[in-house]
Amino acid sequence: MSPRGNELVQMKGVSKRFDQKVDPVAWIARTLGSRTGSEFVQAVDDVNLFVREGEVLGLVGESGCGKSTLGRMLAGLIEPTSGEIFFDGRNISDRRNGDSRKLALRMQMIFQDPFASLNPRKRVKDIIGEAPRVHGIVARDQLDSYVEELMSKCGLDPAYRNHLPHQFSGGQRQRIAIARALAVKADFIVCDEIVSALDVSIQAQILNLFMDLKSEHRLTTLFISHDLGVVEHVSDRVAIMYLGRVVELADTEELFGNPLHPYTRGLLDEVPSLDRRGVQFAAIEGEIPSPLDPPSGCQFHPRCPFASDICRKVAPQSIERHPGHFISCHHPPTEQREAN
């Protein structure tokens, strides 16, 4: 699978494992022969994904499924444990590589919490203007007008350029964060739950701003969210993650119109919406398993109504059921019907 031309970002068999630091007591216990299990979290497990140029890929999953870790790897903030990440055809998995440092500027990330992601001691003009100044993207004498232009583009009054982050509301801070990502002329943006900390009316403002900027700058985006309604609204394609693996991937319309994986179906059934009134809420049974001790085989099997023996033993491979519609399941719907 070589890049087919218009893929800007590509992940091949990418995994990320977080090992727990061995504390002295556990180390002694282990050397003395105690069978304390190895402590690690497989946050992302063998993920193959690509994002086309100008596309918004939505990434949905519940807490702890590894969606933020995946986003951080794609933004180049952390290195994968194994596997390769390509950006514009070049391997960026190894951060020590000078080439990938240069490429890092073209990948930016916008974070969930606008209160934690902006330096509280810096003025807005420095938050937005520092990176382009350091990297020589704009000349020093044009920096002020450059920052002002970005601020107006993001719906902020340039008159506030000397204000500090605490003087802004949550929605306005998120606008500053977006302006900061645009300031270095990024091609690829990872949006990690950018609207989930905001009120509904402010959320709509930020989503509209994002859609405008996206089409204006032809931004390629990985849009991470747990909110299926928001993801459906902004994405071209959607990937569903469960405990570190991508279980289903398809075009937005296909995924929401014809979900195949039992987890996706369960999730879609559970999304409250304005048109579902006085409903009897039914729910996927059970809890999300701990990533410290994930289930064997298909990780969804303890909660899956269709689980069988093979699901408990073998992890399903990703198959392309329809063109562009990938699913990792031993019992996708049609087989289920034949079996009955």
């Binding site: 519940e62 802004f168 509904v200 009316s201 609204h233 729910a283």
Partner: protein
């Protein structure tokens, strides 16, 4: 919905103010609504709209510098505002309970679950420890906690977030109250866990005829759950009515805006309707309509506080220019400024 002779809860013109050093904060200013027996009422609003303070006022949990300065909270005919603290304690956790957003703060982290549940039962009922234990186990079963006898011996931190919220719900339901105030109990939870909690709460209320006030910022959650919706903005009730009326035929421009700004199947790839600006700081509220600065229908009349207009027996809107016209929902012009800075 059953017809009711006497509603479980009748809040009339409730006003809760906070006397802070910075000035007077009218967090709740003239809120009225009714909850019938077995009815689920959703209170919807954004942060700072006063929805939680309304819940705390009903529970009698407003601390200094805040005070309920006016209005009536009639619980089965009895006015809770005038009630002595001692009598309020007898009701709280017994006839009225509350489920909080953060189950961690609702449960004592250093006391085992069984001790906490048994204490809650014994505080209000003259039963033995063993009987109380039985009632508590029954309560855990009801909210769907597996192996309740075993889990009773655990501490709150040994439960997951969703399970902990179930514990808090069990604690609220254990004395079979007539009224439960739920303050954003599913906001911190994942979608699949949220659905489970909604399922359990809804089932318990329907089975036992318990009335429920569900406070949330999420209109979509109450759409599926509630019978009646109250929309709050800047400390005031701006609109209330039966679920279908509010969602299909909203009258207040704020409600129209809220509904329009929720992404849906039809909005895919289009611009969402956006309410410009941000909610006003409660410290600087004037006598005018608080939504005026953000409102597309604002006119000179809006400089006065709009009165409540009754549209039906339980349908109210507080606006000089009510109407559910689609004109408001056209997309706002691109690049519109995001209001002014809160000072």
């Amino acid at each position: 919905m059953r017809s009711v002779a006497e509603p479980t809860l009748q809040v009339t013109d409730l006003r809760t103010h906070f006397f802070t050093r910075a000035g007077l904060v009218r967090a709740v200013d003239g809120v009225s609504f009714t909850v019938g027996r077995g009815e689920i009422v959703g209170i919807v609003g954004e942060s700072g709209s006063g929805k939680s303070v309304t819940g705390f006022s009903i529970m009698g949990l407003i601390d200094s510098p805040g005070r309920v300065v006016g209005g009536r909270i009639a619980f089965r005919g009895k006015d809770l505002v005038a009630l002595a603290e001692e009598d309020m304690r007898k009701l709280r956790g017994n006839r009225i309970s509350m489920i909080f957003q953060d189950a961690n703060t609702a449960l004592n982290p250093v006391i085992r679950v069984d001790t906490q549940l048994i204490e809650a039962v014994r505080a209000h009922r003259g039963v033995s420890v063993d009987e109380a234990r039985g009632i508590a186990i029954e309560g855990l079963k009801l909210v769907g906690i597996p192996a309740p006898e075993k889990r009773m011996k655990s501490y709150p931190h040994e439960f997951s977030g969703g399970m902990r919220q179930r514990l808090a719900i069990a604690l609220a339901f254990v004395n079979q109250p007539d009224l439960i105030i739920a303050d954003e109990p599913t906001t911190a939870l994942d979608v699949s866990i949220q659905a489970q909690i909604l399922h359990e709460t809804q089932k318990l209320c329907r089975e036992r005829g318990t009335s429920l006030v569900w406070i949330t910022h999420d209109l979509t959650v109450v759409a599926g759950l509630a019978d009646h919706i109250c929309v709050m903005y800047a400390g005031r009730l701006v609109e209330s009515g039966p679920v279908d009326d509010i969602l299909d035929n909203p009258q207040h421009p704020y409600t129209c805006g809220l509904i329009g700004s929720i992404p849906s199947v039809n909005s895919r790839k289009k611009r969402l309707f956006q309410i410009p600006g941000t909610a006003p700081p409660l410290l600087a509220l004037k006598e005018d309509c608080a939504f005026r600065e953000r409102c597309p229908r604002a006119s000179k009349t809006c400089a006065k506080a709009p009165p409540e207009s009754k549209l039906g027996p339980r349908r109210m809107v507080r606006c000089f220019h009510p109407g559910s016209d689609g004109d408001d929902r056209h997309p706002a012009p691109a690049g519109r400024r995001a209001g002014t800075l809160p000072q």
